[in-house]
C-alpha cells in the first residue's frame, strides 16, 4: 500500500475533500435546536392561550392546542378591553405610539446624522470634548433625569403633551445615534471630504450631495434602533406623554393590571402579542440591517 492512500478515506486524495458528519457538528445543531425551542416556547404558549376560552385554560395544560380556536380575544384586546375605567382596548394606545414614533424618529435621526457628520469632518476647537459629553450622555441613567425634565417641560408648558414626549425621545436617542453616525462617517475616506471642498462645496452641500446618499444603509440601521427603542419605551411614555397620549406599552400595562373580576388570560396574551408585533415585524423585515445595527453600535468609541 502506498503512502498516498494510507488515510482514513481509503482512496488517494484528489479533488475536494469529502465532508464528514462529526460529533462536534451534531452537538452544535442539537444545541441550536434546543436553544431555538427554549426561546420560542413562551411565544407559542402566548399564541395558543390567546386563542383559547377561559374554560379551556382552566381545564387544560398550557401546551395543548385550542379545541375551538377563536380570535375573539384579539378583537377584544384591540377595541374593547378595559384600561381602568375606559374600555376602548389597545387601539388608542397604538395610534399614540405611532404618532410619537413617526415624529420622534426622523427628528432624532436627522439631528444625529448632522451631528455625526460635523463631528467627523468639521473639527472645531472643543469638538472632541463635545463628542465626549454626548457619548457620556448615553451612559447617564435616565431615571436620574426624569424629575429635572418634568420641571423643565412644565416651565415651558410642554409637560404631558405630544411635543413634550417627542422632544424627550429625540434628545435621549441622540447620544447613541450620534455615536453610530460619527463612527460611520469616521470610516469614510477623508479625501472624499477634501475633494468636495476643493470642488467648492460647503457644509450643507457636502452633507446633502455627497454624504447623505452614502449614508442610506447606516440611516436605516438608525431608524430601526430608534423605532424599536421608542416603541418599547414605557417609563418616558408613562411620565411625559400625558393622559391623552399614553403609548401602547402603558395601555397594555393598564389592561393587564386591571383587577376587576377574573383575570382574562386570553385577552392579556392577545394584547401583549399585539403590542410586541411592531418591533417583531421590524426585526423580521429588517433582518440583516438589524444585525448590522447591533454590530455598528458595538464598534469603537
Amino acid at each position: 500500500m502506498s503512502v498516498a492512500t494510507a488515510n482514513s478515506f481509503g482512496v488517494e486524495p484528489s479533488g475536494p475533500k469529502p465532508r464528514r458528519i462529526t460529533p462536534a457538528r451534531i452537538g452544535i445543531y442539537a444545541f441550536l435546536i434546543v436553544a431555538a425551542i427554549f426561546f420560542l416556547l413562551p411565544l407559542a404558549v402566548m399564541i395558543l392561550t390567546s386563542m383559547k376560552s377561559m374554560n379551556e385554560i382552566r381545564g387544560g395544560n398550557i401546551f395543548a392546542l385550542p379545541t375551538q380556536p377563536t380570535f375573539d380575544y384579539w378583537i377584544k384586546a384591540w377595541s374593547s378591553a378595559c384600561t381602568g375605567v375606559v374600555c376602548n382596548g389597545l387601539a388608542p394606545g397604538f395610534f399614540n405610539s405611532v404618532k410619537i414614533t413617526v415624529l420622534a424618529v426622523p427628528i432624532s435621526v436627522i439631528l444625529s446624522m448632522i451631528n455625526g457628520y460635523a463631528l467627523s469632518f468639521w473639527r472645531f476647537r472643543g469638538s472632541e470634548l463635545m463628542f465626549g459629553l454626548l457619548v457620556f450622555g448615553a451612559f447617564v441613567p435616565f431615571q436620574v433625569l426624569v424629575y429635572p425634565i418634568i420641571f423643565g417641560l412644565s416651565r415651558v408648558g410642554l409637560f404631558g403633551t405630544l411635543p413634550g414626549i417627542i422632544i424627550v425621545h429625540s434628545i435621549f436617542g441622540m447620544p447613541i445615534l450620534t455615536l453610530l453616525f460619527r463612527n460611520f462617517f469616521g470610516s469614510l475616506p477623508v479625501e472624499l471630504f477634501k475633494a468636495a471642498r476643493v470642488d467648492g462645496a460647503g457644509f450643507w452641500r457636502i452633507f446633502i450631495s455627497v454624504m447623505l446618499p452614502m449614508s442610506v444603509p447606516i440611516a436605516i440601521v438608525a431608524v430601526i434602533l430608534q423605532v424599536t427603542g421608542i416603541w418599547n419605551d414605557f417609563i418616558f411614555g408613562l411620565v411625559f406623554a400625558g393622559r391623552e397620549n399614553l403609548p401602547m406599552t402603558v395601555q397594555l400595562n393598564n389592561i393587564v393590571r386591571t383587577s376587576t373580576g377574573t383575570v382574562e388570560y386570553s385577552t392579556n396574551m392577545a394584547a401583549t402579542i399585539l403590542t410586541g408585533a411592531v418591533p417583531l415585524i421590524v426585526y423580521f423585515v429588517s433582518g440583516k440591517w438589524f444585525v448590522r445595527g447591533i454590530a455598528a453600535g458595538a464598534v469603537k468609541g
Partner: protein
C-alpha cells in the same frame, strides 16, 4: 518666467510638533515640481496647505501672484487629485466631473462643453454614464484627474495619485500625466514617495525630510550631486555605497585603503573625517574595470540577476559594496574579480554635518 506658486516661511505646528518648518519654495509657471520624501516628512501636509485644506501656523502662500493664505480651497485656482481617487460613489462619472461646476452654478451648456473636453483629453468618453464602482483603478484615477481638469485651474496638485495602482498601470498613467503636462502646460505639484515617478516626471524635485526641503534641483543634479547624505541615500536603487574614512590632500582613506580622489570637484580644500559615496552603477567589473582610475581585486558574495542587469554584493576594505553590472557578464558567488570605479563620479560628505564637500 513668472512664478506660479510661492511659499514664504511656511510653518505648520501640531502643538509642539513642527510638521513644516519655515519652508520656502518658488515654483515657476508651467513647472512640474515633485515633492519627494519618506512617509512623515511633511510632503502631503505641504500639499494640503497649498490646497487650503489645512490652516498654516505661520507664513504665506501665493498662487498666481495672489496671497491666498486665508482663502478657501475653491478660490485658490487649484485642482487636486488624491491617492484614493475620492470619487463621489453615488454619482456617475459625468456628475463627478461636473460637481464642482454645478456647485459654482455655471451655465449648463458650459458645463457640458467642459466635461466633454476633459473626457476627450483623458479618453473616458465611453465611461461617462458609469458609476465609480464599475471602473478599474486606472479609469478611476483618470476621472479624478478630469475633475481637476474641468475646473480650468492654474495649478494641479497630485497627492500620490499612482500609489494605489499596480506596477504596469502605474507606468502607463505616469506617461499619461507627463503627456498631460506637456499638452496643458499648467503648473503641477506632485507628491510621491516613489523616486522613479519623481525622476521621470519632474522639472525639479524637492526632497523633504522632517518638514524641511533638503535639496531642490533638477533630477540630474539630485542624482549626481546630492547635497547631503540623506538625499544621497534616499535617491537611487540599490542605494549608494557609503564608506567612512578620512580625507587628506585629495586622498580618501578607509580602513587602510587609500583612494585618490583624482578630478573630484571639491569646494575648497577640505580635510578630516568624511564619507565617500559611490553609486552601484558607477562601479565596473572585469575588463571594463581596467579603464577605471581606482581598481581592486575582490570576491563576489551574492549575485541577483535582474534581467536587464545584475546586482552583486562584494567588499571594499572589508565594507560592503553593491555594484550593478551588465547582465551579459557572468558573475558567480565566490568568484575573484577585478572591480574599479572613478572616485571623481562619487560624492564626498562631511562626516559630522553630512553635507557635500
Amino acid at each position: 518666467m513668472t512664478t506660479s506658486v510661492q511659499i514664504k516661511d511656511l510653518s505648520l505646528n501640531y502643538g509642539t510638533v513642527k510638521v513644516l518648518d519655515r519652508l520656502n519654495l518658488d515654483i515657476a509657471d508651467g513647472e512640474f515640481i515633485v515633492l519627494l520624501g519618506p512617509s512623515g516628512c511633511g510632503k502631503s501636509t505641504l500639499l494640503n496647505c497649498i490646497a487650503g485644506l489645512l490652516d498654516v501656523s505661520e507664513g504665506q502662500i501665493h498662487i498666481s501672484g495672489k496671497n491666498v493664505t486665508w482663502e478657501e480651497p475653491k478660490d485658490r485656482g487649484i485642482g487636486m487629485v488624491f491617492q484614493s481617487y475620492a470619487l463621489y460613489p453615488q454619482m456617475t462619472v459625468e456628475r463627478n466631473l461636473s460637481f464642482g461646476l454645478r456647485v459654482a452654478r455655471m451655465p449648463k451648456a458650459e458645463i457640458e462643453q467642459r466635461v466633454k473636453r476633459a473626457a476627450e483629453i483623458l479618453q473616458i468618453e465611453p465611461l461617462l454614464k458609469r458609476k465609480p464602482v464599475e471602473l478599474s483603478g486606472g479609469q478611476r484615477q483618470r476621472v479624478a484627474i478630469g475633475r481637476a481638469l474641468v475646473r480650468d485651474v492654474d495649478v494641479f496638485l497630485f497627492d500620490e495619485p499612482l500609489s494605489n495602482l499596480d506596477a504596469k498601470l502605474r507606468n502607463d498613467l505616469r506617461v499619461e500625466i507627463k503627456r498631460l503636462h506637456q499638452r496643458l502646460k499648467n503648473t503641477m505639484i506632485y507628491v510621491t514617495h516613489d523616486q522613479i515617478e519623481a525622476m521621470t516626471l519632474a522639472n525639479r524635485i524637492a526632497i523633504m525630510k522632517n518638514g524641511v526641503i533638503q535639496q531642490l534641483a533638477d533630477p540630474h543634479t539630485i542624482y549626481n550631486k546630492p547635497t547631503n547624505l540623506f538625499v544621497a541615500g534616499f535617491i537611487g536603487s540599490p542605494s549608494m555605497n557609503f564608506f567612512k574614512g578620512d580625507l587628506a590632500n585629495g586622498t580618501f582613506t578607509t580602513s587602510g585603503t587609500a583612494i585618490p580622489m583624482g578630478t573630484y570637484a571639491f569646494s575648497g580644500t577640505p580635510s578630516g573625517s568624511a564619507v565617500l559615496g559611490i553609486r552601484p552603477e558607477h562601479v565596473e567589473v572585469g575588463e571594463s574595470a581596467r579603464k577605471m582610475p581606482f581598481q581592486f581585486e575582490s570576491e563576489i558574495e551574492i549575485v541577483e540577476p535582474m534581467g536587464a542587469e545584475t546586482v552583486a554584493w562584494t567588499k571594499l576594505a572589508d565594507q560592503p559594496l553593491t555594484l550593478r553590472a551588465d547582465a551579459e557578464i557572468d558573475l558567480q558567488p565566490g568568484q575573484k574579480i577585478l572591480v574599479g570605479f572613478d572616485p571623481a563620479r562619487g560624492s564626498v560628505f562631511n562626516a559630522e554635518s553630512g553635507n557635500r564637500i
